[in-house]
Point group: C2
Chain length 346, copies 2
Amino acid sequence: MYPRLLEKVKKVLQTKSDVFVLTSSGTGAVEAALSNIVKPGDKVIVPVAGEFGSRLADSVEIYGGKALRIQVEPGDSPTAAQVEEVLDREKDVLAVAVVYNETSTGTTVRELEKMGEIAKKYGALFIVDAISILGGDWLPVDEWNVDVCIAASQKCLAAPPGVSIISLSEDAWKAVKRGRPATLYFDLPRYKKYLEERKETPFTPALPLFFALDEALNMIFEYGLENWIRRQETTAKAFYSAFQAMGLKLFAKERARSNVVIAVYAPEGIEVGKFREHLRVKYSVVVAGGFGELKNVIFRVGNMGAVTAREVVTTVSSIESTLADLGAQVPLGEGVKAAWQYLKDL
Amino acid sequence: MYPRLLEKVKKVLQTKSDVFVLTSSGTGAVEAALSNIVKPGDKVIVPVAGEFGSRLADSVEIYGGKALRIQVEPGDSPTAAQVEEVLDREKDVLAVAVVYNETSTGTTVRELEKMGEIAKKYGALFIVDAISILGGDWLPVDEWNVDVCIAASQKCLAAPPGVSIISLSEDAWKAVKRGRPATLYFDLPRYKKYLEERKETPFTPALPLFFALDEALNMIFEYGLENWIRRQETTAKAFYSAFQAMGLKLFAKERARSNVVIAVYAPEGIEVGKFREHLRVKYSVVVAGGFGELKNVIFRVGNMGAVTAREVVTTVSSIESTLADLGAQVPLGEGVKAAWQYLKDL
């Protein structure tokens, strides 16, 4: 079933490149990419729009690479021009590595396609961490010049957690072959060899999760990949519109707003931890808090994978009620009303 | 459930040390051990009794360590004296790293306890790869001075594949802290921090497999860990005795014989691939071939985890019949008769 699964993964990534399914979380696939590609001294441009961008930059340095960080204002996302400026200034940049969707701030890179073009123009590899967004927004890997795409099972593909995905273009393989991978478990040439010679993984796979991912992809293709992505786009609009109607302030700038994580400022006087706890206990709805400094500033609503009209109205109405329970000034019912404008055609 | 699962893992390892469950196969846990512990220039003694010992030695070198290999004759296993000789000759050896059960040759290190004592005497860490044997033979981690124990879910613990286990003694932590781990995904200080502060893994866990391992351990404790190990000891005796009664030659030397993998020479004139195929197709019994040079020389029978009298008689009788089908001279029924002497009291 492994080669069959990989064909489905290629279809969801819209790529003809080599792909592998790894027995690890998405972070393992990040490690696979960097430990194979980055050699000591390599320069890698990493836009940092939050926690995951920061982690990606740190990881480049584990393998002796030099991370050229582009710091982005919280709530915004990096632009292609910012990346081009660094490519232009620095010599011999090996790669641009970018987190497509920054879950810590609810932002998505809206100039990903343009960034890929620019990376190609300067002869740099384009590495995209799409862990939290693959299947939740557009990502035609080959068309957008993505050399390495990293993803995971449990986000917008709606499969159980524990396996991850990686694709490698021919240019990516060339970079890998410059030296021995700094890893045993994620040694990608070994994965390629075992696939070609035995149609197997080199190490024991998490078989039950491979079967689950296979079935999750069947379900997505049955629904239609485009429909699947469109539904998340629509439910995202419903969420954003509902929170605005409730008088809440959105965290992400409009041009950077994620369709898969909706980040919202907690209203004045509402403590995020208490809000989340109340929402969970009384209404059985779980939302996340902020990361690091944003811990008590924002809450985040997941809109990944199998989110339907039902989940949106449940979440919106529960949040409205919780805010009212906690004494916030909230126009009850306005959120649901606003959301319904988008949900009615689902 | 994570801290609860870790308590059960400690119980099966018989250790008070820190333990972690990782979302990776056993090879990932090997990587976790070496990428955290081995720093450039460190000397690590690695007895090589087959494929997995060889892989372990190679892995030491990925992290800049110097692997001091002790080559062992195929079918035999390393002795404590061999290890002591190298410890005595070399200065400042960081660790002795040994594969407890070499599945490629069906051998188990019978002097593991003694080896641990000797490593301790010379101030070296004792790292034990118990992937294929934990739960299938004796391994009291603390009593036997094991500083790092590596294991996996899908072998003698009889849980699904995809998660692995690692333990670290205080001395192991000291070695880790000499420098930054050469890994992001297997950064063990980070696992410790997240466990202590949040009772969580630092990266997304393979939750369904964590639950499955938890339940597999419940089943083992219900049966009794000692009974569980004893049953595998008994079924191993039944297998060895059956193959000898059938006139087959055992591959492993008597002092090195594994209870969990039974390696047997194919009889003269029988092609291993054809034998395995016939056995699988006609009798629905799957056995392994040899590794590398032994590919067409031996076959290997797994005796791991939930193997009962039924599995033994089914396997033995099917092998007898297959050999007869293929025209080998085999005393039909003798294998089952010999096995039954051990199985009757199960």
